[in-house]
């Protein structure tokens, strides 16, 4: 098990390295640089010397490989640089915003798992009944609807028409937990329901496949209660692909926060990413992407470990 974890961790480091190279390169491909943006937005235009001085200060006068190496070297010792947009250390900015995105993503993911797995199990047990048709229709709806459209729809129904929940803004859970959850519910639903649809389909097909296996008939022949057969014998076997999908979709879910945070006005990492791209805030965006990648990689690592814990054939292989 330890060797397995070590092996997967090594792979994760390689993935993270590639992510840093790609995000660094992509930002440099975009036309303009932070200094050009600052020069453009300033009240008075900057002189050529002033621009050159700024570039030197941000290290932008260095050749690209040097810039990259500098960034990586600093990140490794915990210095994520200074945001050219706000002048605040990138790390401070990230530390402020990451919990918001993490809470949103985890809530959305929890909704997706609860709704997806229960409807999937129900659809499998009540196959070819109205329950199955309804769940399948729900899944089709969830997969077809874009997050942002669902988000706008939710705002319209629950905030504008019914006035039940706030449409924009964020309150820290430390200030008021209930209000915090109220603010998070709609964005989490918008983000989670389409993922729920994906989990539902995977759960349904996985459950149906396992329910047809010989060992389920054997379990019935043993007099195993139906409840234990469904939630223990069947779901544990069906959960292997479900857990894989859950891990894989988590990355997508975090990607979805970029749009959802913008719609719902949540000051999370997604919003920071958008603002940083607009302002060509190289270090801030690199920081966001690296942090998110780290998060996704860790989630996938955990997924693999859960996977091994669930299936003895993987663990002992």
């Amino acid at each position: 098990m330890l060797r397995f974890i070590a092996h997967r961790s090594l792979q994760s480091i390689i993935v993270l390295f590639l992510v840093t190279v790609i995000v660094f390169a992509l930002m440099r491909i975009l036309p303009g640089d932070p200094v050009a943006i600052i020069a453009g937005t300033g009240v008075e235009g900057l002189t050529a010397e002033e621009e050159a001085r700024l570039r030197a200060r941000f290290g932008l006068d260095q050749p690209l490989p040097m810039q990259y190496l500098d960034w990586i070297r600093n990140v490794l010792v915990g210095d994520w640089g200074i945001s050219t947009r706000t002048g605040v250390p990138v790390w401070t900015e990230l530390a402020h915003r990451a919990p918001i995105t993490a809470q949103l993503a985890l809530t959305a993911w929890l909704i997706a798992v609860l709704v997806g797995v229960t409807t999937g199990v129900a659809a499998a047990i009540y196959r070819r009944t109205p329950i199955d048709s309804f769940s399948t229709a729900f899944a089709m709806f969830g997969i077809s609807m874009p997050d942002f459209w669902l988000g706008i729809l939710l705002i319209l129904v629950f905030s504008v028409w019914m006035g039940l929940l706030p449409s924009v803004g964020y309150v820290s859970p430390a200030t008021d937990l209930l209000l915090n959850l109220k603010h998070l519910l709609l964005p989490a639903l918008a983000l989670g329901l389409s993922e729920a649809a994906v989990f539902m389909r995977q759960t349904r097909s996985g459950m149906l496949e396992v329910l047809g296996q010989d060992f389920i008939r054997v379990a019935r022949a043993k007099g195993t209660p139906e409840r234990v057969i469904i939630w223990h014998h069947t779901l544990k076997n069906a959960s292997l692909p479900i857990v894989t999908i859950m891990g894989l979709r988590f990355g997508r879910l975090i990607g979805g926060t970029v749009v959802i945070e913008t719609i719902f006005g949540l000051p999370g990492l997604g919003r920071l990413a958008v603002q940083s791209i607009v302002m060509r805030d190289y270090l801030a965006l690199q920081g966001v992407v690296l942090l998110v990648a780290l998060f996704v990689v860790v989630i996938n690592l955990i997924t693999d470990i859960i996977y091994a814990a669930l299936d003895p054939r993987i663990r002992l292989a």
């Binding site: 060992f215 054997v218 379990a219 043993k222 007099g223 054939r313």
Partner: protein
């Protein structure tokens, strides 16, 4: 085995109906037989003759709603199992009646330990705690001659060979000390040497515990060696039944004779070739009229495709369903 004692299991007139896309047919038709304590009853027949379906009907595990028991009764210790609902039936399954399936490689759940799977019936039916159940499981595994049973309880199915898996299945079936055990082709998937060991374990345990055993097989050799009574099935009906020595000594139904003619014997005359039964068994939806065997029967005459012959006792204990040779 005394005749005066009431039978453990009495199947009478059991009929199951298969419905597929609006078409209906009787998969089992008027099946009747009895099993006594300590008796080994073998059910033989070709694939599709209804052997396994009979077993599933007794267990209440027919794949409803496609297949349902529509007539007859299955009386077990005074209770008609067909009148029970799933929850009442569950109390019997694995406790008083247990079943071992054909395919040991897929009969065990890959994500649970062997120990857990043997323990399950003890936990559900006897209310044992995990520890007590595990202790009993170790004894059971040792009883079916698995060495180092204690240690092997912690292993997973993929670490077991086919023969060991089937032993684990038998141990599970025996866990609650059932009065009746159904073994559906328990050795078909195993090596010949393992087959004999498994069947001997089953027969000895049945005799030792006074447990009724229904052995479903298509091997007449197995029947001759291990069973007390044999039931020959064809196209969902019992065509001949009786004590093994009697049926093998004086096979009456042409189908039984046909089956025996296609078994090679070690001491047989090399010149006498094996005689296969001509033709194919019919499917559920295209059963011939009258006696379903008549298209393949060398003795068939007019009456055979007009009327279905009933199962009649023509010698003490020996039944046949055939119009020929009355």
């Amino acid at each position: 085995m005394t005749v005066s004692e009431p039978p453990l299991l009495t199947v009478e007139g059991l009929t199951t109906t298969v419905s597929v896309q609006g078409r209906q047919a009787h998969a089992l038709d008027d099946v009747s037989f009895q099993v006594r304590k300590g008796e080994c009853v073998a059910i033989v027949g070709e694939s599709g003759s209804g052997k396994s379906m009979t077993a599933l009907a007794i267990m209440g595990l027919l794949p409803e709603p496609q297949v349902r028991a529509t007539a007859g009764s299955i009386r077990f210790d005074g209770t008609d199992l067909l009148t029970l609902n799933q929850e009442q039936m569950r109390a019997f399954r694995g406790d008083r009646i247990s079943m071992i399936f054909q395919e040991p490689m897929t009969s065990l759940n890959p994500v649970f330990t062997i120990g857990h799977q043997i323990s399950e019936p003890l936990i559900y039916h006897k209310g044992l705690g995990r520890k007590a159940a595990r202790k009993k499981a170790a004894q059971l595994l040792a009883q079916v001659q698995v060495a180092d049973a204690e240690h092997r309880l912690s292993l997973y199915p993929h670490q077991f060979s086919g023969g060991m898996r089937q032993r684990a299945m038998i141990a599970t079936g025996l866990a609650c000390d059932p009065e009746l055990m159904i073994a559906d082709e328990p050795t078909t998937a195993l090596d010949v040497t393992i087959q004999a060991q498994i069947l001997e374990i089953l027969r000895d345990l049945a005799r030792g515990r006074g447990m009724g055993l229904i052995l479903i097989t298509h091997s007449l050799g197995v029947v001759a060696r291990y069973a007390d009574t044999v039931i020959v099935m064809y196209a969902g009906r019992v065509v001949e039944s009786g004590p093994v020595a009697e049926v093998f000594g004086r096979p009456k139904h042409p189908y039984t004779r046909g089956l025996m003619a296609c078994v090679p014997t070690m001491d047989g005359d090399l010149e006498s070739a094996l005689v296969p039964i001509d033709g194919q068994p019919s499917g559920v939806f295209d059963r011939p009229s009258g006696c379903a065997f008549h298209p393949r029967c060398p003795l068939a005459f007019d009456r055979c495709w007009a009327e279905t012959p009933p199962l009649e006792e023509f010698r003490p204990g020996h039944h046949k369903a055939c119009w020929a040779d009355e």
